[in-house]
Amino acid sequence: GGGDDDAPEPSFLSRFRRRLHRRRNPGSLTVDAPLDFAGIARIEIISAEMQFKDRWLACLSLGERTYKTVISDQTDKPEWKSEKKVLLEKHGPHIARISVFETNRLSKNNFVGYCEIDLLEVLNKDSEDNIEVIHLLDPSSSDKTVGSLTISCYVEDPIETEKSFARRVLAVVDYNEDGKLSYSEFSDLINAFGNRVAARKKEELFNQADKNGDGVVDMDELATLLAIQQEKESLISSCPVCGETLEKLNRINAVIHLTLCFDEGTGNQIMTGGFLTDKQASYGWMFKLSEWAHFSSYDVGLNSGSSASHILVIDRRTKRLVEELIDGKIVMSMRAIYQSKVGLILIDTGAKEILQNLSEKQGRQMNSLESAKDIPKFLEFFKDQIRLDEIKYPIEHFKTFNEFFIRELKPGARPIAHEDDGNIAVCAADSRLMAFKSVDDSLRLWIKGRKFSIQGLLGVGLSSEAFMHGSLVIFRLAPQDYHRFHLPVSGVIESFLEIPGCLYTVNPIAVNSKYCNVFTENKRTVSIISTKEFGKVAFVAIGATMVGSMTFVRKQGDYVHKGDEFGYFSFGG
């Protein structure tokens, strides 16, 4: 709440109540009325008293959203203490319904009782005590009660909402997790907010916060600065979570959007379920779990002023460091989801299916004739990185985006090093490569997933003894790359093994996360090539978010020559 005894302003609660009264009397509406009626209501389903013992579950529904608590122990006095923040809008829904279900082996989720709460009425009560005890009604007879429910309900102070949001989002860019932001970390954050004016004066903003001039700013100081700055001039032009432009919203609604979007995205709240519905806020978040997902709206991202973040890679041909374009919002989203425990909780609670469905849907879309219109946009975005002169067919030849995506190159566009010398292995894909003399080195330097193992990667069907301490080379393909993969060695294809799995991103952000095991959990195909010069070589093609379809143009028993085309990745599940 906002007011202590010394503060000249009334408390937030009383301000809010005054606004409520004003709204309820239409004659007293003021010009600032449209701003008045947005807030975040925090509802906690605390406990219930039922008439018999069972395991209990409660659902909170408001508008088109439904959230559920965990299931209680076997009792007639279940305790949940589950909390959910919901948005109260000027013309939006404000009657919340809480339904209580019993669940056991015989009757799964049997609807036992319900109550409805007008959130505005609850918030309008004079009592500072926010706890309410409400009768639960029998669904078949509204004058019969089946128990009672205890809830707590109050509206957050907008300033506190802003500060708490700022603290949480700042934690995402605190890359070295020292609780302080360096200038570059701060700079990334401002860039992701997509405000060009703020981006130009971020040094000034940073210095404002860095009171003692030591070059770093602690979280609270920066959160305060951001909250104060927001009062004067909005720093946040687009939501770093879902990318939505916020400039049209007023200040508090922008922060409410950010807070709720962030909550949905990180699964930060105790009550879950909102993101499993059709109209989930988290859809926007999930859609940005991979750089692949965003390419069709690159133009939107750029136009809204969101600054691209960069991954540095070294170009082997020119020996120059080059910056790889990737939207800052996506970097932040991926960090928050793949490099945090809460993010991984979200993945465990439904995101796998969402990623699979998204990829299948994207596959269908990219195979439609309509998708061909995305090709020019894509080429424009990657104009420095796609060489049109080496593509086998002219652009008009491609009738769908997927056809373009798996484009062939002109003969000779990729010369094969020492083509006739089987002792020389070559690169298998246009890609960003990491190579390690031993699997142990790869684990020390790059693959941080705690459950990674060669056995896990190759699958139980294949004896991987020979590869246990072998050398490992990773070829990571980016959206703009030529998507056909080739054979690195000459030999005979001994076997193919398809391993079903998830479609997480294979971006370094996920590969470097100790919580994620993308290589051993993603869908993949393992082939073993038997060679004279290298012994056996395992070739693992791994699908990822959106690009989960793998097609091979060679089959088991074929003799293959290094540099030959082996297959391709395309959009799909």
Binding site: N423, A425, V439, L457, M468, G470, V473, F475, V540
Partner: protein, 57 residues
């Protein structure tokens, strides 16, 4: 999407520039067909007489 190639222990000597970049956790931009490494069995093979060049006397 990603391709991972695994070679048996001591079967390949990967080009030093690729290994050095990777040790700095820096990805290297490569194209299909660029040299990746050389078989460590090459020397052994050269030391052995090639059966194709042998003749029965």
């Amino acid at each position: 999407s990603t391709v991972i190639c695994i070679f048996e222990k001591d079967a390949i000597q990967i080009d030093e520039d690729l290994v050095a970049n990777s040790e700095r956790s820096l990805e290297t931009l490569v194209s299909v067909g660029m040299k990746l490494g050389i078989s460590t069995r090459k020397e052994t093979q050269e030391e052995l007489p090639s059966l194709e060049k042998c003749s029965i006397e």
